[in-house]
């Protein structure tokens, strides 16, 4: 690879958008070329400046209410009068969520002609996803905000009857940002929260019944990717709006752990 090609590919290289073979060529060129190393450095400087969490703008608090009152009212809510509707708008979000997922669940049960396993998986996938959405909406994302796995793991002790595996994958672009207790599948579970760029990944963990390991089962629901696997005696459910490739990468990191 020459310098010109390296220039063309350097951004895709930084952004992990290159195929492995080309990435290796870029890496080799960078090792031997100090000019291109400087280019890489300049990109890193800019990247670090842009990654400052204060750079994005805060959404004005009033915007959500404005949007909700601008949306055309549903036929049945219109009867109550618009004043009352906007007054309860904030509180109705969890209700709206519950309603939405009740519908999705209902459809799943109506149309699931497949095996019991698959429909159980689907129902759980829905539960997992609605929990993910709740965690993002209700500002109850974290009970223990910490990027340190040695803080997060002991926090679960005494709160759960099991000790979930907790790993930080910052090096691979999946930063542990904390954990919380959640309730899923009729039991208390550990929820670990990871961040991938601006995306949140919820990872739900509880002991599996079989105690074995199974390969991933994936679901796509309304733009969210849900992945399920069992490993080392635990059930794992990961859900996020990151793309499916990233979520699988995340899952395989988790599975590589001892």
């Amino acid at each position: 690879m020459n310098c010109r090609e390296c220039h063309d590919f350097i951004d895709a290289y930084i952004d992990n958008e290159l195929d492995v073979a080309t990435a290796i060529l870029v890496k080799q060129h960078l090792r031997d070329c100090s000019q291109c190393q400087q280019l890489l450095e300049s990109r890193k400087v800019v990247g670090a400046l842009l990654k400052n969490p204060q750079v994005p703008f805060e959404v004005p608090d009033s915007l959500r209410g404005k949007i909700q009152s601008a949306l055309p009212p549903a036929a049945s809510t219109a009867k109550h009068g618009s004043g009352r509707r906007s007054a309860i708008a904030w509180f109705s979000v969890p209700l709206a969520l519950a309603a939405a997922f009740a519908v999705v669940l209902g459809l799943v049960f109506l149309y699931q002609g497949a095996t019991i396993d698959r429909s159980r998986g689907n129902a759980l996938a829905n539960e997992v996803m609605s929990s993910h959405l709740r965690s993002l909406l209700a500002t109850h994302l974290l009970d223990v905000p910490s990027t340190d796995q040695h803080t997060v793991k002991p926090w679960f002790d005494g709160k759960l009857k099991f000790s979930p595996p907790v790993q930080d994958f910052s090096e691979h672009g999946f930063r542990l940002i904390g954990g919380r207790l959640d309730y899923l599948n009729g039991r208390e579970v550990a929820a670990l929260v990871y961040q991938r760029n601006k995306h949140i990944i919820n990872l739900f963990i509880w002991p599996s019944e079989s105690g074995g390991s199974t390969a991933g089962q994936s679901f796509v629901k309304d733009g969210f990717n849900v992945l399920h696997w069992e490993h080392d005696g635990f059930e794992f459910w990961a859900v996020s709006d990151v793309n499916a490739v990233d979520l699988r990468a995340f899952a395989s990191l988790e599975m590589q752990q001892p």
Partner: protein
């Protein structure tokens, strides 16, 4: 689904994306008031087409609507005519808010970064905001901005290069 369910479904899926929508609009419109108006307008448009949306990536879909809504508001044609020359764009920024004298220029880095992004031509600005601030993949950026991935890549490269020059400049000036 009846109206009420559609609305509940819409709110559950789309309202969590408000942060992303607002940031893109804020960077494109360059002020809070216009950004809020365009986000509101975008949500109305999104609601209208929600039932017929066939894809799965709601975020990219919403951002594409936000982007198009903002472009209409800005007058897309005028924008395209004005394409590129960075000097011109920077001059325009200075017209609106003249830079303080050197001794007063010790602003927070955050502000310097924001000003530098705002000074980029709109095509570069949206590429860098979608990538660095919204965390979109190249493919998603190409969907949102309706250009091939190769163009996304070269816009990002130029955006980052210009940002570096501007911020490196700024750093020197601040150190005087």
């Amino acid at each position: 689904m009846n109206d009420e369910q559609t609305r509940a479904h819409f709110e559950a899926l789309m309202l969590p994306l408000m942060n992303d929508a607002y940031n893109l609009a804020r960077w494109l419109m360059k002020n809070q008031e216009d950004a809020e108006d365009q986000v509101q307008e975008s949500y109305l448009r999104a609601f209208r087409f929600f039932a017929s949306f066939q894809g799965t990536n709601f975020r990219a879909w919403l951002l594409r609507i936000v982007r198009n809504t903002c472009y209409s508001a800005l007058g897309a044609r005028k924008l395209r005519e004005k394409e590129v020359p960075l000097e011109e764009e920077s001059d325009e920024i200075e017209d609106h808010s003249p830079l303080p004298p050197v001794s007063l220029a010790r602003k927070a880095t955050v502000e310097a970064v924001r000003e530098a992004i705002a000074a980029l031509p709109v095509e570069f600005r949206e590429a860098v905001v979608l990538r660095e601030i919204e965390g979109l993949s190249y493919k998603e950026i190409s969907q949102v901005t309706e250009v091939p991935i190769g163009t996304v890549m070269s816009r990002l490269a130029r955006a980052r290069h210009q940002l570096y020059l501007m911020l490196a400049d700024r750093k020197e000036r601040d150190q005087l």
